[in-house]
């Protein structure tokens, strides 16, 4: 750790270094502003040189993100950011690669790239802005919109069952999954830090309010007054406690999570302990997402170590080269049966 801190001092980066001169053009009051600010605040303390960041995005409101970061950036085409980012990382493994995407970009048109980037475990950070709506195309339901949602393209209510993005990430065997809230600076910064330090494909789902087309979608957790009783912030190794007075917790009852009140009948000892490395716990937390009887979980839901594709590729190139020797064009051209015409 001391090395990293020394590194950070040498780099001497501040938030300003990540703010380019151009004007940010999201709607006033959009949740994206908070995510951007927290990204710009967090990166300077992570010990990575500014020129080694590459922000890759697809299409959608959130995908304008790279234009607002003074780093290398690539605003690409709809849904393809994880695939482009894969090429960037494999071409230059020294880069720190971020993918910025949304629920339409990442889980509708780009769903295939998303699951494969996660399963391959290429070292990159994928941040999904989930506002449960298509914003840039002005208000159609997305693959994360809830059933019954009335939008421009579902005037009688959506009959399209939604994805739970973090659960899809778990299904794709992602090695790091976090969920954060646009208005929660602390949670965002923690997720960004942990994600970037994680080796492998990291997935951060950000609940983000779209003021124009889906305002109030996450009201219960966005509102400071109701948040303590609607949100569960999990910490590895600690019991699952929530509530304004820290008086509620989660137990396992009949193989399902259940909210209990701490007091005479239940104590902290009875509560489930969060374990980032246990997919059963992660799955259990994700099951709570759409259940009105349970709080919505946030924090680092999963973090496990696994070999990364990029390292394995580099290792394979090194190993094969050690065994066969560095290939030359001469070797290659003469690798078949050769004859000479004199």
């Amino acid at each position: 750790m001391s090395e990293t801190i020394q590194g950070i001092e040498e780099l001497n980066l501040t938030r300003k270094d990540f703010v380019p001169g151009n004007e940010v053009r999201w709607c006033p009051g959009c949740g994206d502003y908070s995510v951007l600010a927290n990204m710009q605040k967090t990166l300077p303390v992570l010990g990575v040189k500014k020129e080694n960041y590459a922000f890759i995005s697809g299409i959608g409101c959130s995908s304008r993100f790279p234009y607002y970061m003074d780093t290398y950036g690539f605003h690409s085409i709809h849904g393809r950011a994880p695939a482009i980012a894969s090429g960037v990382k494999l071409a230059n493994p020294d880069l720190t690669v971020w993918v910025i995407t949304g629920d339409g970009d990442g889980f509708s048109i780009g769903g295939n790239h998303m699951i494969h980037a996660l399963r391959r475990n290429i070292d990159m950070n994928i941040m999904l802005f989930n506002n449960r709506i298509y914003g840039l195309t002005k208000g159609q339901y997305s693959p994360t919109s809830l059933l019954g949602k009335k939008t421009k393209s579902s005037p009688f209510g959506s009959v399209d069952r939604p994805f739970n993005p973090s659960a899809v990430a778990l299904g794709a065997n992602a090695t790091f999954i976090a969920r954060a809230l646009d208005v929660d600076a602390k949670g965002l910064q923690e997720s960004i830090k942990r994600s970037q330090r994680h080796k492998g494909a990291s997935f951060i789902e950000v609940y983000q309010n779209c003021l124009i087309f889906n305002d109030g979608e996450f009201a219960d957790v966005e509102n400071k007054a109701t948040r303590p009783d609607s949100a569960l912030f999990v910490v590895h190794g600690e019991p699952m406690i929530f509530g304004k007075d820290k008086d509620k917790g989660i137990i396992m009852k009949d193989n399902h999570p259940k909210v209990v009140h701490l007091g005479e009948e239940w104590t902290e000892e009875d509560l489930l302990i969060h374990d980032e490395t246990n997919p059963i716990i992660t799955n259990l937390l994700l099951e709570m997402t759409f259940d009105p009887k349970n709080p919505t979980p946030f924090g680092v839901l999963r973090a496990v170590d696994a070999p990364t594709y990029d390292e394995m590729l580099v290792d394979q190139i090194r190993e094969v080269t050690e065994i066969k020797g560095k290939g030359t064009l001469e070797d290659l051209f003469y690798s078949g049966d050769v004859w000479e015409v004199k």
């Binding site: 090429g87 494999l90 071409a91 004859w339 015409v341």
Partner: protein, 612 residues
């Protein structure tokens, strides 16, 4: 009885059998032996798209044809002189192509009642006299290998499988080819299973000796060495040549090679070849789909690699949007399309040249792109090298068109001296590129190309993307005047490549009655047809285009020297359409779409028709 050896100039052989009979392998081994003898040659495989169609059926027939000669050979031959038919279905499918009076070598044991019925023969053609116009060698191959290998460890099924080596042995004798290279190859291939190697070698020798000793064969043929330019040669398929060309270009540019690709027939061998070259530093990424194949390559190019994606028609369709992204971001990228029959899934294992318009124009908006087309398997090396060079010099994606015939067909390749391959100059800006107004990611050099500034370079942080950018600054811009400027620059950038295209080389006179103009894999058939026409005294010349976008700058002048222009294409007239617009004059067309290359005779007939 001493057997006669007749000297011939050229021969065309077709190996045909069930898809499980190993015909591709048999053909390839014959090809290697023929190459070693020093003949010029061309080959073409012809196999079904099913991996194992039902045994013995017409649908399951797999074939391999080669032509070899003591003179230059430009095509795998029109009609075979000799047909190897391992079963009745193979004979049924291919007999119609055999030259009149040609030779048939058949495995008599396979002509059972059941197999005959499955191949829709009413009676056994080997015995009912229907093949009287041909020289038929009906040999009990299965029985003979069974006897020769009765003491081997192999199962009876395993022994039966060696019958292709028996047939190969007979042909080695018949055409005086050495068996030693195949013997060595078998020992190497089955190093872990010596009994299989030995059984196959025995089967091959049994076939060879059968030709030598039995009295049914009276004659064998000798084909002298071809008069090829001096140098060292090896046989190569177009797909392997593309792979090698890319590796060479990467090395000459001092770049790492990145391939993003999704498996597709008939392009997969490029992925296979490159994935085996880790010790050359080659990074291959088998993507989740065609789109990820190209977009990962675009990402790798952005980060500074020589990036490539390989595919065939349906994959090109899927990559279309991303090609537009590479065009607007002005990133170097090589896109290889090994064309096949279409539309849609079409005929995956058959060749066609019908993706030309897709390559040149098939994108939303004005999205110009350079397109280069290889003309024979060895030329695939040069075209891949050139495509990569141009991509990096002009900061643009480049499409390389080959096809299933080039990709899977083979011919001798005069191995270039690696030291003499030209160096590819590539430069990446550093912080010295920062001017008073900061770094300009869309600044222009004399060719109007922008700098290739790669992530990791301090001070040059900038954003690119699919949204239109302001020239010079690279800021997002929806300004009307700027869009005009950028659209014009993108067109001129491609047009500028004409300065790298050497003057057109005309085969024949530079002025005359008919110019046969082609592109891609029709080169050989056109060449042969033009040669024959010229030998008859007809005023015919050939021009074959490598760059089909942009056209060479002297194209109109060259065409003006001829009264008539004929364009033979394995499509419904795509180059003709482009050239009618370019030259504004009538053009004769010869178009076939049978999933097969032209026969030279078809082009010859068309020339006769034009000359009246």
């Amino acid at each position: 009885m001493a057997k006669k050896v007749i000297s011939i100039n050229e021969a065309t052989i077709r190996f045909a059998g069930d898809s499980g009979d190993g015909m591709q392998l048999t053909g390839t081994r014959f090809t290697e032996a023929t190459a070693i003898v020093g003949n010029d040659l061309k080959t073409i495989p012809n196999y079904p798209s099913e991996i194992r169609a039902p045994l013995g059926t017409l649908a399951g027939v797999s074939a391999f044809q080669l032509m070899f000669g003591s003179q230059r050979v430009f095509t795998p031959g029109d009609l075979p002189d000799t047909l190897v038919a391992m079963n009745p279905a193979a004979l049924k499918v291919h007999l119609k192509d055999l030259k009149k009076g040609g030779t048939i070598l058949a495995n008599a044991n396979a002509f059972s009642e059941k197999n005959l019925k499955m191949a829709t023969w009413e009676a056994n053609p080997l015995t009912d006299g229907s093949l009287d116009g041909y020289t038929v060698y009906s040999i009990e191959m299965s029985k003979l290998v069974g006897k020769a290998l009765e003491n081997s460890d192999l199962t009876s099924k395993g022994i039966e499988r060696t019958k292709n080596m028996f047939a190969l042995g007979v042909l080695f004798w018949m055409y005086n080819r050495p068996i030693e290279p195949t013997e060595a190859w078998l020992r190497k291939k089955f190093a872990k299973n010596p009994s299989i190697a030995e059984a196959n070698i025995t089967a091959m020798k049994t076939g060879y000796n059968y030709g030598e000793t039995t009295e049914i064969f009276t004659t064998s043929y000798a084909v002298e060495k071809a008069d090829l330019p001096k140098g060292k040669y090896r046989n190569i398929t177009g797909n392997v040549a593309v792979a090698y060309g890319l590796v060479a270009a990467a090395e000459k540019a001092g770049k790492e090679l990145f391939l993003g690709s999704y498996p597709i027939t008939p392009a997969s061998e490029i992925l296979h070849t490159l994935s085996g070259l880790r010790n050359h530093g080659v990074k291959t990424f088998q993507a989740e789909d065609e789109i990820a194949g190209i977009t990962s390559a675009i990402g790798a190019s952005y980060a500074g690699d020589l990036a490539v994606t390989t595919t065939s028609g349906p994959g090109m369709a899927l990559k279309t949007e991303a090609i537009g992204l590479a065009i607007i971001t002005e990133l170097p990228l090589v896109i290889v399309n090994v064309q096949r029959g279409g539309p849609s899934t079409g005929m995956p294992t058959k060749m066609e040249q019908s993706d030309l318009l897709q390559a040149v124009h098939g994108r939303n908006s004005d999205a110009p792109i350079p397109v280069i087309a290889a003309q024979d398997p060895a030329d695939c090396f040069d075209c891949a090298f050139e495509a990569a060079r141009v991509a990096m010099k002009y900061m643009t994606p480049v499409i390389l068109l080959t096809d299933g015939y080039l990709g899977q067909g083979s011919g001798p390749w005069k191995i270039p001296d690696p030291k003499k391959l030209p160096k590819i100059e590539v430069s990446h800006p550093d912080s010295s590129a920062i001017g008073e107004d900061g770094f300009m990611p869309y600044a222009r050099d004399e060719n109007e190309t922008r700098p290739w500034a790669i992530p990791g370079t301090p001070g040059l942080e900038h954003r690119i993307g699919g949204l239109e950018k302001e020239n010079l600054t690279g800021m997002v811009s929806q300004d009307p005047e700027n869009h005009q400027v950028m659209t014009d620059i993108r067109a001129r950038k491609v047009e500028n490549i004409t300065q790298d295209i050497p003057p057109s080389e005309i085969h024949g006179d530079t002025k005359g009655k008919v110019l046969v103009l082609g592109w891609g894999s029709t080169h050989g058939a056109i060449h042969v047809a033009v040669e024959r026409a010229r030998a008859k005294g007809q005023s015919v010349s050939q021009l074959h285009l490598r760059w089909v976008s942009p056209f060479p700058s002297d194209l109109k002048t060259v065409c003006d020297g001829f009264d008539e222009i004929l364009i033979p294409e394995v499509n419904s007239g795509q180059l003709a359409l482009l050239l009618k617009a370019e030259l504004i004059r009538p053009i004769h067309q010869l178009n076939i779409v049978r999933g097969e290359p032209f026969r030279a005779s078809e082009i010859e007939e068309k020339i006769n028709e034009i000359l009246g």
